[in-house]
């Protein structure tokens, strides 16, 4: 009996010793579309976050504390995003959450304000995200910043008669509105304005209407469905040149898109990091989304490091305060400056070629 008591006490001692070390782990969350029409992008984003997390843990964590990201699936739907957010905050007490997609990020914004959680958006671009919540920060410029740069270029180089093809969702509608406003202010005329549903793969009727309107170019505001779009464009002789933002990037490389233009937010990665990424995930390239999510995760790590060094608790409020105190985050991916909730970044313009794309204009946002 005495031996049993000693064994129990020893076991309890070991358990008590183990609990604080488990509590050392820093738990963060990410609400990403891991299934549904946007899953391809969601998985790229997840890989970026996992890459950054694995690297910091391999280097010993943040001041000796390991980091764990919990991934929740939004399915690309705001209601599922809200449920995921609540699970992360209520069950895991995560002080910061990475988000994706405009409609979902907008749905999370009031919750971020109410629960004082720092929500970091590395890719969604609807303009409404600018002031959606004091606790929501955007690490990339929004639609209007990219559209402004692209519109100026299109007016100067392509003509003053345009059509718009956009996704009937938050970011797509913003692209339409911003482009229309900027283009008409420059003396341009919109000759066709066609919406397609999010996740749809049949664009034929809209493309036919646009081709029949004979614009100088068509401004495209879509986030998914580019392989099908490219195929269907190829079947319409004389379809006008397409122009778009970062989201048009996946169409580059398709023969039907040679000569198309897209703006892009300047973003890079060290070759050795890119090689490590290829090795870890066995993928052809580290995409824009993987890079941006890895970089945003690193920004959160830097904020946590700052708080731990100052012995401050890891809360959303403190993380937000640290963000605006540090203000400038420089990395091989980008120099990100937070003068407001939306970062300032360089916007470039590319032209699609038969083998890839070429830089035709660099600009500062």
């Amino acid at each position: 009996m005495k031996l049993f008591s000693v064994a129990m006490a020893a076991a309890l001692g070991i358990l008590c010793h183990a609990i604080p070390s488990k509590a050392q782990e820093i738990v963060l969350g990410a609400v990403l579309p891991l299934t549904g029409p946007a899953a391809q992008i969601g998985l790229e984003e997840q890989q970026g976050v996992q890459f950054a997390t694995d690297r910091i843990n391999a280097d010993g964590g943040i001041r000796g504390r390991k980091v764990k990201f919990i991934f929740e699936d939004s399915q690309g739907k705001p209601d599922q995003g809200v449920l995921a957010f609540n699970r992360l905050v209520d069950l895991h007490n995560t002080p910061s959450i990475l988000t994706a997609y405009s409609s979902i990020s907008l749905a999370l914004a009031p919750l971020a304000t109410r629960k004082k959680i720092l929500v970091v958006n590395p890719a969604a671009q609807t303009n409404k995200l600018d002031d959606a919540s004091p606790f929501l920060v955007n690490t990339i410029p929004l639609v209007r910043d990219e559209v402004e740069v692209m519109t100026k270029y299109a007016v100067a180089k392509l003509g003053k008669k345009a059509a718009i093809l956009y996704e009937n969702a938050a970011a797509g509608v913003d692209v339409r509105d911003d482009f229309k406003k900027a283009f008409e202010a420059s003396g341009g005329t919109i000759v066709a304005d066609e919406a397609i549903e999010f996740g749809s793969t049949n664009f034929r009727a809209s493309l036919l209407k646009i081709a029949a309107a004979k614009p100088d170019f068509v401004f495209v505001g879509m986030t998914v469905g580019y392989p099908a779009l490219a195929d269907q464009v190829a079947q319409i002789p004389g379809f006008p040149i397409g122009v778009g933002t970062t989201f048009l990037r996946p169409i580059v490389g398709h023969p039907a898109a040679v000569g198309w233009f897209h703006s892009g937010i300047k973003s890079g990665m060290k070759p050795e990091d890119e090689a490590a990424f290829h090795k870890q995930f066995n993928v052809k390239e580290m995409t824009f989304f993987s890079r941006e999510y890895a970089n945003s995760a690193q920004i959160i790590f830097k904020l946590i490091d700052d708080l731990i060094s100052k012995n401050k608790p890891l809360t959303g409020e403190n993380l937000k305060a640290a963000l605006f105190e540090i203000k400038t985050f420089e990395s091989p991916t980008a120099k990100i400056v937070f003068n407001s909730n939306t970062a300032k970044r360089e916007v470039e313009i590319f032209r699609a070629t038969a083998t890839g794309r070429e830089l035709v204009q660099a600009s500062v946002n």
Partner: protein, 292 residues
């Protein structure tokens, strides 16, 4: 020219929806189950054909194999779920909920087994080829969609009216209790119906996938449109469901001449509501109606 092309594309869409509609109504009329997981079988068929074609199997064989596998899946759904529920006196609502659950399972299974990404039949080079019919251009998959849809609808009508099994199915659909008394084995018939419908629904799935692309979650809108066509055409009528599908497909595209694309679906469904207010029984009078 634009108008004719839009009409032709609408006809193709209508044919694809039409096959989903006739197979859905065939199941509903016979078994009484509102088989929404038909959309899951639709998705599965397309992905199976894609996977087989990627493995280098000739395209026609891919389609046939996908149809056979889906027929087996359909039969298994009937035997393993619907039959058990019916024998336990489950209400139609319970059956519908089970079917909804199964749809989620099938869609997620496809996403896990294959990929959640948008997929194309990249190994089929001819899918991009365009055929010219005067001022109208159609891709080969579009032409195949039309041809196979008409073959499916007339084949099903022929099967239903001219063969012993077809007549037996109609007898069961007409009165299950009487069919049981006369030893027509309704539960066995239900398995046949599910297998036939599940095999046929692979056709539009594959040809839409060939023509455009596929992703695991897009079939719900196709099924919703097909169900509306089934109701507009008159519940239980194969001809009615197919004709209504053609009308819906054509109207959805034709209205684009006068309204922007974002209004197309809303306008079409408004027309449907107006139509159904004036003719609640649909276009065609129902010849086969379930007894209960």
């Amino acid at each position: 020219m634009l108008f004719l092309q839009l009409i032709a594309d609408g006809l193709v869409n209508g044919c694809a929806i039409g096959v989903v509609a006739i197979t859905f109504t065939y199941v509903y009329t016979t078994t009484g189950v509102f088989h929404v997981s038909h959309a899951g079988v639709f998705t599965l068929g397309g992905y199976l054909a894609w996977y087989l074609s990627k493995e280098g199997i000739p395209f026609v064989l891919c389609v046939v194999l996908a149809m056979l596998i889906c027929a087996a899946v359909g039969a298994a759904i009937e035997k393993g779920i619907y039959e058990k529920l019916l024998k336990r006196q489950a209400t139609p609502l319970v059956q519908l909920i089970a079917s909804l659950g199964l749809l989620a399972v099938l869609q997620n299974l496809v996403a896990i087994l294959f990929t959640p990404n948008v997929l194309q039949f990249e190994s089929i080079a001819w899918r991009m080829n365009v055929l010219h019919f005067g001022p109208i251009d159609l891709t080969i998959p579009q032409v195949l969609t039309v041809l196979t849809a008409f073959a499916a609808v007339y084949g099903l009508i022929y099967f239903s009216t001219k063969t012993n099994l077809g007549r037996r199915i109609r007898a069961v659909a007409s009165n299950r209790t009487l069919a049981e008394i006369t030893r027509l084995k309704p539960f066995e018939v239900y398995v046949y119906v599910m297998a036939i419908s599940s095999a046929l629904v692979v056709l539009p799935s594959v040809f839409i996938g060939l023509d455009q692309a596929m992703q695991p979650y897009s079939s719900v809108l196709v099924l919703l449109t097909a169900v509306i066509a089934v109701i507009s055409g008159g519940l239980g009528s194969i001809r009615g469901a197919f004709s209504a599908s053609l009308v819906m497909g054509i109207v959805q595209n034709a209205v684009l001449i006068v309204v922007p694309g974002r209004w197309s679906i809303a306008l079409t469904f408004t027309l449907f509501i107006v139509f159904i207010l004036f003719r609640p029984t649909g276009l065609f009078a129902t010849k086969i109606r379930r007894a209960s």
